[in-house]
Each structure stands twice: as C-alpha cells, then as structure tokens.
Amino acid sequence: MEGFFMAFYRMGWHRTAANYVRFIANLRSFLSLLSMNTASYLPSDYIPIFIQLSLALGFIVVTMLVTHNIGPKRHSVKKDDPFECGIPTQGDARAPISIKYFLVAILFVLFDVEVIFMYPWAVNFMQLGQEGFIQMVLFMGLLLAGFYYVIRKGVLKWE
C-alpha cells in the first residue's frame, strides 16, 4: 500500500489533484483571466453577431409559425407517401450509398486542416520571408504527394 502511495507521489499526481481542486475553485476567475489577458479584442466585440443571430432566428420562427397556421391541411394515404414519380413507393429511402462520397469527405477534412494551417502563415507572409516560404512549400509538397497518390489510386474517379 505504501509503495502505491510512493509511486503516486513520485509521478507527481498529488500535485495534479491539488491543482485540479484549485482549478475548480477558481474556475470563474480563471476564465475571466483568460478573456482579459492574451486577447487583442474583447468578447463584447462579438455582440453584434448575437444581435444578428437573434434577428435572423426571430424572422425564421415567426415565418414558420405563420406558414404552419394559415395554410390548408388535407391528408390522405397516397398523398402522404414520399414522391416517387407516381408509382407506389419501393422500400425505404435510407439505403446505403457509394463509399465514394465518404472518401470525398475524408479528403475534404484533410485538405481543410491544411488550409487552416495556411492562414496564419499567409497573414504573416511578409515577416516570415523566404524561410517561411520554403517551409510552407515543403508542407504543401508532402500533402500534394499524397494527393497525387490518391488520384492515381482512383479515389476521385467517377463513372
């Protein structure tokens, strides 16, 4: 038992635990510190977005309520079926679909991450100069090599 505690102690987890308690106790001041310290803007700068959001939400909710209430409502078995060019519906619509779409989504995520990494570089392009340029070309080159491989494998071949 003592050995267990010694191991616990040696790995420094008691400090983690103590820090954790302190973190919970100081959560609010911690967060306010975060919001004041490193930022080059204030969170209140973003208030107009919330104004626009509430305006848009209000418009949508009111329109939806109105249109739901003033139109006629007539139901029948045939009418409530999903449209299938006039013939009786066959099975369920949620059938599995080609994996190509899934692969496109995977490729998109990877390229999205690449593009996100390029923004901070592009904004600082003039300060970083030649060195940064070479590093980014290396970064893009590695990714483009993978992209070439994927194209050669026929991932993006649609028939």
Partner: protein
C-alpha cells in the same frame, strides 16, 4: 450581459453533450454534437482565441461532423432496428446505437479526461504570463510561433496528413473494383 451570454453558452455545450450521451438515435446525437461544438467555439471566443473558434467551426463542424454524418447516413441499415422499442412513426427515421461495451467507453472517457486535465494543469503557457501580447491579433502570434518555434511539429503534421491520405487511398483500393 456578457455573463449571461457566457453561462448560456456553457448551458448549450452541456445540454448538447448530455443529449449525445442519452439519446439512442445516432443521428440525433450527431446533431447534438453540432450544438456542443458550436458552444465550445463560442467559449473559445470568450477565452480570447478567435482564430481557434473559427478553426473549430470550419474543421470540426464543417468537416469532421459532415464525415460522421456521411458515415451514419450511408452505411446504416434500418432493418436492424428492433421494432418494439421505437415509436411506429419514427421507425424508419431512427438509427439506433448498439450499446455494447459500455464499461469500455466509460473507462476510455475517464482516461482521456484524466490525461487531458493533467496535461492542462501541468502545461506551461508561455504567453499566459505576459501582460498583453504585442501582436495585433491572435493569428499573428500563432503564425509566427508556428513557423519559427514549432516548425518541427508543423512539418510532422504534414507527414501525419500524408499518412492519412495514403490510408484513404488504401481504403479506396479495397472498396473500388477496377
């Protein structure tokens, strides 16, 4: 005003996370995850990390979650639903999660939470102690740090992305018959 908004976003995040946990329809939990991710992005704004917030929205909400939804929508077989547990009108709209390995999940989550919180507690934030960063925006700081001090991790990331691309190509080779 800001306090109210702050706690509202915390509530949004938590409600989303709880819905992810408690609903059995995988599709609903994916949409609840959308709420959580948006809430976390808003909290990033409060924490002074606007670039991080936008990256969160573009990558996680716009990319990863779309991938998850594609996976759920395209591979599901609605025939596996046990008809007794679902309301009749909802039958074809539900994709239920198999609840195997609950304890494994709990263990994994606890381990991840412990590891991450330990990392956060023991991390040394170099910029945290400085009064106000001289760079005009957070994105300037990130760009400069990324291309100078953290250049090795940056290039390693590109290798990681390369590996993922090769993996995608391999998946395609298995599934697409020439």
């Amino acid at each position: 005003m800001l306090q109210i908004a702050f706690f509202a976003f915390i509530a949004l995040t938590l409600i989303g996370a709880l819905t992810v946990l408690l609903t059995r329809n995988v599709l609903y939990s994916a949409y609840a995850l959308l709420l959580t991710l948006l809430g976390v992005a808003a909290l990033f704004v409060f924490a002074g990390a606007d670039f991080l917030a936008v990256s969160q929205i573009i990558i996680y909400v716009g990319g990863v979650l779309v991938l998850v939804l594609f996976g759920v929508m395209l591979t599901s077989k609605p025939t596996t639903i046990s008809t007794s547990t679902v309301v009749a009108s909802e039958r074809s709209n539900a994709i239920l999660a198999g609840s195997r390995g609950v304890w494994l999940g709990v263990l994994l989550a606890a381990g991840l939470f412990f590891g991450l919180s330990r990392l956060l507690m023991n991390a040394h934030f170099a910029l945290f102690d400085q009064p106000i960063s001289k760079a005009p925006t957070t994105i300037d700081t990130i760009g400069k740090q990324l291309m100078t001090e953290y250049i090795v991790p940056f290039e390693v990331i590109s290798i990681l992305l390369l590996v993922a691309l090769v993996g995608a190509g391999y998946l395609a080779k298995k599934s697409i018959k020439p």
